[in-house]
């Protein structure tokens, strides 16, 4: 009760000051007795929950606040170290997470703000016995645009690519177009693929990744407009390998994805409730000394964060309840990137 009682006291002080400032104030103030004061209670906006899984105990401090913000930072850098034992094969001087010109929320042309909305942020510690092995900062709910020049990323960043075959035909050679046509894939065919953090050879690599793409052995699926059976057979054979599928690029530099949606931005909040409609649950950044399973606040299951610094950008639910990747792009965006949205007031658009 102490903090909120202090808040109440602040409120009383403000009222007292107002009363004093009023030139014609006549009301008589009555002091509260101790027992009366003890009945003045604030609200419980902090609580603490515990959890356990696989021999690890968790303590999470939950903060009952809604936080709307629009901010910029020159650099967000976590885990910049060179340790050939811990991080074999990584580029010297690279970081687990390095995002330049990081921003949350966007700015409109008239300098009004589209805030990044956060509800119920938390801090959580993971204990193995009496040893802290991990700490994470997360958001119970989040929705908004996250921007930045991503130099390297360690974590979970689901990407879903969906679009017509036209974009693939646009970058395909004559020979590739012939193969696509024989396989029953046309310019109007709707194709989809899941992508993730990969290295420059197309192997899944969630550590200090600089590219997202279709990992080796994965391919496309056709959801409409393809030749029945023929395409299924063709796509069953055609797989991505070494960042290419039929010679077409399937890995893309992360730094070309400048502004990413967190949560479903297409759903408007209701003025009658404090809820963040379309929010994603479970966005977090963590540090751990070993691979640690943290509870996913959306699915309520545990998900593993790799040793080191780790960023989890979870999927969110669309209007039909389907899980949607935070980076949800078409083939043109995959090839050409997602442009940066304005995150600065005044003339600048980034780096402010």
């Amino acid at each position: 009760m102490r903090p909120t009682r202090s808040l109440a006291a602040l409120g009383q002080l403000a009222l007292l000051t107002t009363a004093l400032m009023a030139g014609s104030a006549q009301a008589k103030l009555e002091a509260l007795a101790d027992n009366e004061l003890s009945n003045v209670t604030g609200q419980a906006f902090i609580n603490l929950t515990t959890d356990a899984n696989a021999g690890i105990n968790y303590t999470r401090v939950n903060l009952g606040v809604n936080l709307d913000t629009q901010l910029n930072m020159k650099k967000l850098q976590l885990g910049q170290y060179n340790d050939s034992t811990t991080r074999p094969g990584e580029v010297a001087g690279s970081s687990d997470i390095l995002i330049n010109n990081f921003a949350l929320g966007t700015v409109n042309a008239d300098d009004s703000i589209n805030a990044f909305k956060i509800a119920n942020p938390f801090i959580e510690l993971a204990y193995e016995g009496n040893k802290v092995i991990g700490v994470r900062i997360g958001f119970g709910e989040a929705k908004g645009t996250l921007s930045g020049d991503i130099a390297s990323l360690t974590g979970n960043v689901p990407v879903h690519i969906k679009g017509t075959g036209q974009a693939i035909y646009d970058v395909a050679s004559v020979g590739q177009k012939l193969v696509l046509g024989i396989g029953g894939i046309y310019t109007t065919s709707v194709l989809e693929a899941d992508a993730q953090l990969v290295n420059s050879s197309g192997a899944a690599d969630p550590v200090r990744g600089t590219q997202a793409g279709i990992k080796n052995g994965d391919g496309l699926t056709c959801t409409s407009g393809c030749a029945p059976l023929i395409t299924d057979v063709a796509l069953g054979i055609i797989k991505s390998g070494d960042c290419a599928l039929l010679g077409i690029q399937t890995c893309f530099n992360l730094d070309q994805f400048k502004s990413l949606p967190v949560g479903n931005l297409g759903v408007a909040d209701s003025a009658s409730t404090a809820a963040i409609e379309g929010a994603t649950k479970g966005f977090f950044i963590s540090l751990q000394t070993k691979d640690v399973a943290w509870r996913d606040l959306d699915s309520n299951s545990f998900m593993t964060a790799l040793k080191g610094a780790f960023m989890n950008m979870p999927k969110y639910k669309d209007a039909n309840g389907n899980m949607v990747s935070p980076i949800n792009i078409d083939f043109n965006q995959a090839f050409n990137g997602i442009p940066r949205q304005d995150t600065c007031l005044g003339a600048a658009t980034s780096g402010c």
């Binding site: 109440a8 629009q70 009496n130 540090l287 005044g346």
Partner: protein, 347 residues
């Protein structure tokens, strides 16, 4: 010195049931002419040693998942001179000195200055307002400046506190988070300085409320957090304790909240005890694009930015092969907040 006397006087007036005098409010212009000389103070030979005391706090608002209060025990608190070896060898410390003291004064907004990251002093508070300012020992530019963190130039050399005027600080919290389970956080900070920190408050007549700006600067040679009680199981030897310690070396934070000229920090509490903290859009006062551009340019050039830098962070020994981990360099740099609104609610 005038401020406490003023408050005491006001309190007497309120307490008196027979008070009849009519008080006249000062307008902004009159208030801006009120200038106390203020006063400075130095914490001379201060030593706080509660190593053998235990304070158990039960804060009703902090509950566990079952809604039960979480008792928090505060132990091993100390504040003393540097070189204390985590409080084992405590000596008095003098924080601040007569030429660079803590100050509390009432001053005009145009007389107050803030040190920008590039070493330029700028005015951040609006003119023609009377500002109540609590300021830590100020930073110094030029050759008079001292290293904010010894041996770590990146933290700057514009602190006024000399090496002997920094402090060691420690505190231990025991959280009884569940039946049979107590989480321990034993925090020790070495060579702490807070030069250039301030809190400034003034009345905003347009908003009809108290507003302010604050800057919190923290510089430390090291910060350690041990998660066990020394002497307990698995926490007796130096190696066991190191394995259960998070160590941050050469760390500093410059946290800026509010830019008085165009983005004062607003704080309010409603009748339900919930609070709202807000940093408004600094261009909201501009009615044309040109005016907004001017406000934005001034804001980005002069508003204090937030930095949080840890030169090295490790858990345990820092060696992965022995169960520790080296997280290396970690930083948030050049943070500006164009808009912020924080509202508390029940959980």
């Amino acid at each position: 010195m005038n401020a406490p006397l003023l408050f005491a006087g006001l309190a007497l007036l309120v307490a008196s049931a027979l008070a009849q005098a009519e008080m006249q409010a000062l307008d902004d212009q009159q208030l801006s002419d009120v200038q106390g000389a203020g006063f400075g103070f130095v914490l001379d030979n201060i030593l706080l040693d509660a190593n053998n005391a235990t304070i158990t706090i039960t804060i009703n608002d902090i509950t566990n998942g079952s809604g039960q209060n979480v008792p928090i025990s505060v132990k091993e608190f100390y504040l003393g001179a540097t070189g204390s070896n985590k409080g084992a060898n405590l000596n008095p410390v003098t924080i601040g000195r007569l030429s660079s003291p803590f100050t509390l004064d009432l001053n005009k907004g145009e007389n107050l200055r803030t040190l920008r990251d590039d070493g330029v002093w700028v005015q951040t508070t609006p003119s023609n307002v009377a500002v109540l300012a609590l300021t830590f020992p100020e930073r110094l530019t030029g050759t008079a400046g001292q290293a904010c963190i010894s041996g770590y130039a990146a933290a700057g050399s514009n602190c006024s506190s000399r090496a002997s005027e920094k402090a060691d600080l420690g505190i231990r919290f025991d959280f009884q988070v569940a039946a049979g389970r107590t989480d321990i956080l034993n925090i020790d900070i070495a060579e702490l300085a807070m030069d250039g920190s301030y809190l400034r408050l003034w009345g905003d007549s347009a908003r009809s409320q108290l507003v302010g700006e604050m800057r919190l600067n923290l510089y430390a040679k090291s910060l350690t957090v041990m998660s066990c009680a020394a002497g307990a199981t698995n926490c007796a030897t130096a190696a066991e304790q190191e394995a259960r310690t998070i160590t941050a070396t050469n760390l500093y934070a410059n946290i800026g909240l509010g830019y008085g000229k165009s983005q004062p920090l607003l704080f309010d509490v409603n009748s339900n005890g919930q609070f709202t903290l807000e940093l408004p859009n600094p261009t909201s006062g501009g009615t044309t694009a040109a005016a907004r551009n001017t406000l934005a340019t001034d804001f980005y050039a002069n508003a204090p930015r937030t930095n949080l830098v840890i030169d090295n962070l490790k858990m345990g020994s820092g060696s992965y092969s022995t169960g520790g981990y080296n997280f290396g360099y970690n930083a948030i740099q050049g943070l500006t907040i164009n808009y912020l609104k924080v509202t508390s609610h029940d959980l």
